[in-house]
Subunit: 236 residues, 2 copies
Amino acid sequence: MRFRWKRESRMLSAVMEDYIKAIYAIRSDGQERVSTSALADYLDVTAPTVSSMLKKLEERGLVDREEYKGVTLTEEGELVALEILRHHRLLEAFLTERLDYDWADVHDEADRLEHHVSDELTDRIAEALGNPGVDPHGDPIPDADLSLPEPGDTIRLATVAEGEPVVVRRIRHQGDEELRYLADAGIRPGVELEVVDVAPFGMVTAEIPGGEQSLPEEIARLIEVVPAAEADELEA
Amino acid sequence: MRFRWKRESRMLSAVMEDYIKAIYAIRSDGQERVSTSALADYLDVTAPTVSSMLKKLEERGLVDREEYKGVTLTEEGELVALEILRHHRLLEAFLTERLDYDWADVHDEADRLEHHVSDELTDRIAEALGNPGVDPHGDPIPDADLSLPEPGDTIRLATVAEGEPVVVRRIRHQGDEELRYLADAGIRPGVELEVVDVAPFGMVTAEIPGGEQSLPEEIARLIEVVPAAEADELEA
DNA sequence: TGCAGGGTTTAGATAAGTCTAATTCGCGAA
DNA sequence: TTCGCGAATTAGACTTATCTAAACCCTGCA
């Protein structure tokens, strides 16, 4: 069943789409209801601005709002979020695979374009790439029906035992600096590595093809991995 | 010499870019000075709207304005126009060549995206395509330094003598309908054809690979061709 | 139980881009 | 030379998205 005809007739402004995306992102980070101030922080605008925008989103039926408490996405709001996510992640994948972008640099370009590519173009990109299930950071890409593939089970690199070979599956991120750091370290989805040392203050040292890398704990915590054995299984 | 750093620091709104593009397009159609009403027509807004926008563009140094007379692009305005043209035409070329779009359908998608692709992305697209000199309609693409390749000499199909084989070089257009018409007729840049008949009221019948096509004169006038002999020369 | 402080909302202003209605300008015809 | 008409501009209002300042709500601590 497809609801694709809806989005382009919905005609949300890019700004509104950004609010929906932000609510989705913050919500995914744990909170059930998303607060005005959390959104203000995330979007770098003032609280009154958020407050008035939330009222508009409520009128449009995209969020449920409880005064002084916060908002949640309605079913329709959820679909909008998933559509933007699909655009964003497919753009990232395309830029990386077909236009030779570094996977740590695609975020900004995708952020601007995601609001302006048609669903038609998005679908063509998906097809050209063979309908990939994940983007270059390992984040799952909603399919054309907007259902989000369940990512397989992963564990955080920070919790891996020394000596166990693992394969990087996904890099969680908000800002670009962490991605840059990891890209420079040669750590990206698909890379096999092995923790060789965990220092007292959380510095994790891992062996990767081509050398060793030391990572601060807060960076290591962004890396999701699976045991190498398990990864091999999936290849086959 | 490159001036590329300028555009993205100029930070024009998409709307302003559309006005610049419109002035460029109307100017290319003959007029030296572009009138308020011509712009209002072209952009489908009212004259007062254009008037106030032209004042802003003048303040930004993008147009020279003579009250009650019209505007011309300044040197900087010209560069903006060429940058947008480069974005637009490379996008069209890319969508057609790499994402299997029909060359008659790419216009709208490119119109939306041209304001949001970075120069970086534009350059990567150009490189991926081998720095093409023309877009799918045969329109010249400004290079990275924003100089516009001189298109070779062409003649209008409407003026071609019966029996002379020619090759289509370029399709001039404003709306999409003519492009659709020609695409459906199988006439596009690169196709070889021969005029077999010109009827009293300007209906032009041409033989193309795969059959014959009759075209109204106003459509035939949009088609620029070169003698087949000349075209072969350039291939070699 | 009440109040202080922090988060939220309301009120009112601003900037961009658009509109309609009213005014002004410029130029060709009488 | 002047009149009148069409084109251009000015005036003022509306919408979207933003801000600051002020008022309001809620809750945890005394």
